[in-house]
Symmetry: C2
């Protein structure tokens, strides 16, 4: 046990998942530094607070009639709570960078810089994850909603295998664009060739491409549509599609063929349709490893502007692999786009915006 200058070291006991200190520790630890929670005649610390205060030389902890050093306490605490170490790493990092932290419904409630318990409301709900943990989309959304219901921001603190922390902000958002997507007139003739659709007629090709940004010209005359674009336009009766033998395909026939080429087809189409119907321009995000890059609008003179979003369609029961999430978000941010995950549930498409943030 160290006693540095005037620093008083308090002696506590490890009981279950709590360390209790005598109440005379309250003035120094709780009143001025916001550690623990007073209860009757003791101050109760979480295991994480206790580990940090042992490291700081401010407390010692007894267990089964002997004093635990830092090593002994870490081993005990790791046995008692899951993810103890990664939570400790995040707690220590935030605390040492000037944030006050309280236990919360996610892992931590964190106060804004300069704020503190009692004076200011907490600002963030921090959710701590090891990069190896699988993360259910439904769990994450629930955490986001829990935070948002009490007007907090949800922050994911992901600890990698070398204990570096990356912080991500996550929030649900609306998507809305400024494009008028209304096309009318007789159905345009097109053919399904393997995994794309060809519009053969020059005027239709030009209109679909130049005014509404569908497809990609094969040459001066013909336009290639992706399966998704074609399915959307077929659903709106803008085009009619024949197979390579000349037979007309109904929207159902077409969907049946498309899903064989691309198993993600139904969920991709649901998101594409929602975005296009909301006035956005949606193009493939292949080069960025996502389903779509999305534009709020297109300048008729200058052509396509910078796309602001990458959108990736997920199943509603999707499980994130955190290194893959990291790659997606990092890539989106490196090209100045926001990474959005989208899924359909009960007929509604939801959009979750995940971005790296500096804490």
């Amino acid at each position: 046990m160290k006693r540095m200058n005037n620093i008083k070291t308090f002696s506590g006991s490890l009981i279950g998942e709590i360390v209790t200190l005598p109440i005379d520790s309250k003035e120094i630890l709780y009143d001025t530094s916001y550690y623990g929670q007073p209860k009757d005649d003791v101050l109760e610390l979480t295991l994480i607070e206790a580990a940090y205060l042992i490291y700081k030389g401010k407390i010692t902890v007894n267990f089964e009639n002997k004093k635990l050093d830092f090593e002994g306490f870490m081993c005990e605490a790791s046995r008692r709570t899951g993810n103890f170490e990664v939570k400790y790493i995040v707690f220590k990092d935030l605390r040492e960078r000037g944030y006050f932290i309280k236990p919360g419904v996610t892992d931590f409630r964190v106060y804004p810089r300069g704020g503190s318990p009692g004076k200011t409301p907490s600002k963030y709900f921090v959710y701590v994850l090891s990069e190896r943990q699988p993360m259910l989309l439904t769990d994450l959304v629930q955490q986001v909603e829990t935070a948002s219901n009490v007007k907090k921001e949800l922050i994911m603190a992901v600890v990698d295998e070398e204990s570096e922390i990356t912080f991500y902000g996550a929030r649900l958002r609306n998507m809305k664009g400024d494009m008028d997507n209304a096309l009318s007139g007789p159905a345009i003739r097109a053919s399904l060739l393997e995994d794309r659709v060809m519009v053969w007629d020059s005027n239709s090709s030009v209109q679909l491409h130049n005014e509404f940004l569908y497809g990609k010209p094969l040459d001066e005359i013909r336009l290639q549509l992706s399966l998704i674009e074609a399915a959307y336009l077929l659903g709106k009766e803008v085009i009619e599609i024949r197979d390579s033998k000349g037979g007309i395909l109904t929207p159902n026939d077409f969907a049946d063929q498309a899903v064989m080429v691309e198993s993600d087809f139904p969920k991709k189409l649901a998101v594409y349709k929602d975005l296009r119907d909301k006035g956005m321009v949606v193009k493939t995000g292949y080069k960025f490893g996502s389903h779509y890059r999305v534009y709020k609008k297109v300048d008729q003179k200058k052509g396509m502007l910078h796309s602001e979003f990458l959108v990736h369609a997920l199943d509603s029961n999707y499980i994130f692999n955190l290194p893959q999430l990291s790659r997606a978000v990092r890539l989106a941010n490196s090209v100045k786009k926001q990474m959005i995950f989208a899924w359909e549930s009960g007929g509604t498409i939801s959009y979750l915006d995940i971005g790296r943030i500096k804490m």
Copy 2:
């Protein structure tokens, strides 16, 4: 049929997967423009060459006593060969940007800019893929080796759903660094806590971290090692590892526990070991969504230099998803690193370097 100025239009026949033209077409199409292959008294075109020459108005094609227009020919050809459309898109793109192209063991043999058949050897073997095709690692490696055996570069031309082409170069490479990784002395004491390992002693922590770049300091005294680092150092008898109850773990015990935390552990460790043994410094690549970032050396004064490689460990029977490959390579290139895929086969680790290239 168009006849523009002096351009002669030749009339051919579709037979199976070939279009035959009368031999008088040889002078214009083959001798000066390198289309087709003369055989007996005809010039034989591939379906792709024929489609392109129909588009250019240089030939017409008859099938079952009627002339096929471009649309008719595309539909016929798509029925006869897989991936016809994407191959046509790549052929047209390269041809119009000044490359001469011949059929090859991969899809195309391509001559360097300014070169042509008969005058210069071909330079590239081009392998055409739709972004939706799953690509077996073993297939890709075979293509790379086929090309490399005859001193060609393998180029993958990946066509996305909107018919944009991305070119990737792929080659096998050696990995070699300049670090001396030899550590000796009595085994350093460490503990396994959930999914990382803690070195408790200050001198050992400093040596492992500062001289050899293992781990990350938890604080001024203790060092955290990743499971992989710990397994490597345990294998070299540099550390000894106890569990949180104090029992000593053998390398096998440790591996058994690690694989429960991280199912990729064995293949990640095999690659880590190979790279470290070859004198490279290997750190986590989490922020880039890959297993490792890898340094050739560390400057003892300046610390770590820029890492040149991202390395991702695969199973030898891995199947690439091309949008994911695209994301990985794009991200690596955007941070000026080379993307390397590594796998173990027959006790040897191989390294495949895949990078975007401009054609």
